[in-house]
C-alpha cells in the first residue's frame, strides 16, 4: 500500500480480556476516506472480529458514533485525512457513558428506555376524524420545532455530557430536545404528560449547562438550548401555579 495511517482501536472481547486493550492496525490513507471506511477496511481485510455499529454511511442513521481522538463524532462524517494532520495515529474508542458490550459497541438500552418515557410522538386529547383531513401547519409553526426534529439519536451528546456520566439517572440532552420537538409542535397536546418526566431533578434540573452536547451535535439540534428553554418554561409554569392556583395548571 502506498500510504497508510495507523488506527489505534480499543478492543474489548469479554471472553479474552477483563479490561479493554488497544490494538493498532495499518489501513490505506485515502483523502476521501472517512474513519468508518478505515474500520470497514479492517473488518474486511485484517480482522473480521472487530465489532462496531454502522448502517447508512451518510450521517442519517446515527449508528456509527464513536470517540475519535477523544471527541464524540459520527465516524461516517469524519475524514481520516483531517485527523492529526492526516498522519495519525487515530485513536478510536466507544462512546463514553455507555457500558461496553464488545469492542466499539456500547449498550444503549438506557437511552432507549428514557426516550420512551417522554412519549416522543404527537399526543392528542381527542383525535379528529380522518374525514376532516390532516393537521395542517404553517411554515412558521414548523419553524418552532424543526431544529429539534433533526435529532438522529446518535447519542454523541450523551457521550459529551459529564453530567450523564456522573449521574446516570439524568435523562440526558437528546431526550429533552426530542421532548421539546413535540412540546413545541402546535399539533401536540401532550406537554403536561411529558412535564412530569422533564421537571424532575433527573430531568432538566440535573443539567448544569456545560454546553458540550450542542458543541458535538452533528445535526445542530442544540440540546443545551432546548434544556435551558424548558427550564424557563417550567419555572414560569411553577410561578403561574403558585400565583394563580385557581387557574388551569
Amino acid at each position: 500500500m502506498a500510504e497508510s495511517i495507523t488506527l489505534q482501536i480499543q478492543r474489548y472481547r469479554p471472553e479474552e480480556e477483563e479490561e479493554p486493550v488497544w490494538q493498532s492496525f495499518e489501513v490505506p490513507r485515502h483523502d476521501e476516506w472517512m474513519v468508518l471506511d478505515g474500520l470497514n477496511y479492517i473488518k474486511d481485510n485484517l480482522d473480521g472480529s472487530l465489532s462496531y455499529r454502522w448502517a447508512c454511511r451518510m450521517g442519517v442513521c446515527g449508528s456509527c458514533g464513536m470517540l475519535v481522538n477523544g471527541e464524540p463524532v459520527l465516524t461516517c462524517a469524519t475524514y481520516l485525512s483531517e485527523l492529526g494532520g492526516g498522519r495519525g495515529p487515530v485513536r478510536i474508542e466507544p462512546l463514553t457513558g455507555f457500558p461496553v458490550i464488545r469492542d466499539l459497541v456500547g449498550d444503549i438500552g438506557d437511552f432507549i428506555t428514557k426516550l420512551q418515557r417522554i412519549k416522543p410522538w404527537i399526543i392528542r386529547q381527542e383525535d379528529k376524524p380522518l374525514s376532516q383531513g390532516e393537521y395542517l401547519q404553517t411554515p412558521e409553526e414548523l419553524a418552532l420545532y424543526q431544529q429539534y426534529s433533526m435529532c438522529i439519536n446518535c447519542m454523541l451528546c450523551y457521550s459529551a455530557c459529564p453530567i450523564y456520566a456522573l449521574e446516570p439517572d439524568f435523562i440526558g440532552p437528546a431526550v429533552i430536545a426530542l421532548a421539546q420537538r413535540y412540546n413545541l409542535d402546535p399539533r401536540d397536546e401532550g406537554s403536561e404528560e411529558r412535564g412530569d418526566v422533564l421537571s424532575q431533578h433527573a430531568g432538566i434540573w440535573a443539567c448544569t449547562f456545560v454546553g458540550e452536547c450542542s458543541a458535538v451535535c452533528p445535526k445542530h439540534v442544540d440540546p443545551a438550548g432546548a434544556i435551558q428553554r424548558y427550564k424557563v418554561t417550567a419555572t414560569a409554569e411553577w410561578f403561574k401555579s403558585v400565583l394563580l392556583p385557581w387557574g388551569k395548571r
Binding site: P14, Q23, L46, D47, E140, P162, G225, R229
Partner: protein
C-alpha cells in the same frame, strides 16, 4: 494477531479470560475520572464559570455588609473604607473583579440559548438578546456611577 472465533454453538472460542462465562459476557463500565474537567478546555471553562459564582456571592454579601457598616455611623464606615483600601484587600478584590467579569460575560453569552423571544412572527435574533443584556449592564453601571458621582 489473535483471531477470535464467533461464539456460535460448536465453535471453539479462544477463551483467555478465566472469569468469562459462555453466553454471559460482562459489560465493561469505565470509571469516570475525578479530574474529568481537565480533559477538555470546554469542561475546564465550565468549572471555572461555576466556581466564579462564589465571587458573585461574596460580592453580594460584601455590599450588604457595607450597607450595614454605613448604618453604624460615619466613623465606623471610614474605618471600613480604610480596610478596603489596604493593599492585600485591593489585590484580593482585583481577583474577585476578574472572576466576576468572567462569570458575567460567560453567562451573558449563554443567555440567548435560554431566551427565545418572539414578537409576533419575528424571532428576536440571538445577537439582539445578547446586546440587550450588555445594554442593561451598561445602564445599571451608568446609574450607579451617576448616583455615586452626583
Amino acid at each position: 494477531m489473535v483471531q477470535v472465533g464467533v461464539a456460535a454453538v460448536g465453535q471453539t472460542v479462544n477463551r483467555i479470560n478465566p472469569k468469562y462465562q459462555l453466553y454471559h459476557p460482562k459489560w465493561y463500565r469505565k470509571d469516570y475520572p475525578i479530574f474529568w474537567w481537565l480533559e477538555k478546555f470546554a469542561y475546564g471553562k465550565f468549572i471555572v464559570r461555576e466556581m466564579t459564582s462564589l465571587a458573585v456571592g461574596y460580592t453580594a454579601v460584601l455590599l450588604m455588609f457595607q450597607l450595614w457598616v454605613l448604618s453604624r455611623g460615619q466613623e465606623t464606615y471610614q474605618r471600613f473604607l480604610g480596610f478596603l483600601e489596604s493593599t492585600p484587600v485591593m489585590i484580593f478584590h482585583g481577583v474577585v473583579l476578574a472572576f466576576l467579569l468572567f462569570h458575567s460575560v460567560t453567562w451573558f453569552n449563554l443567555a440567548p440559548k435560554a431566551l427565545v423571544l418572539r414578537l409576533g412572527r419575528w424571532r428576536v435574533p440571538n445577537a439582539l438578546v445578547l446586546s440587550g443584556h450588555y445594554a442593561a449592564w451598561l445602564a445599571a453601571t451608568a446609574l450607579v456611577i451617576w448616583l455615586v458621582a452626583r
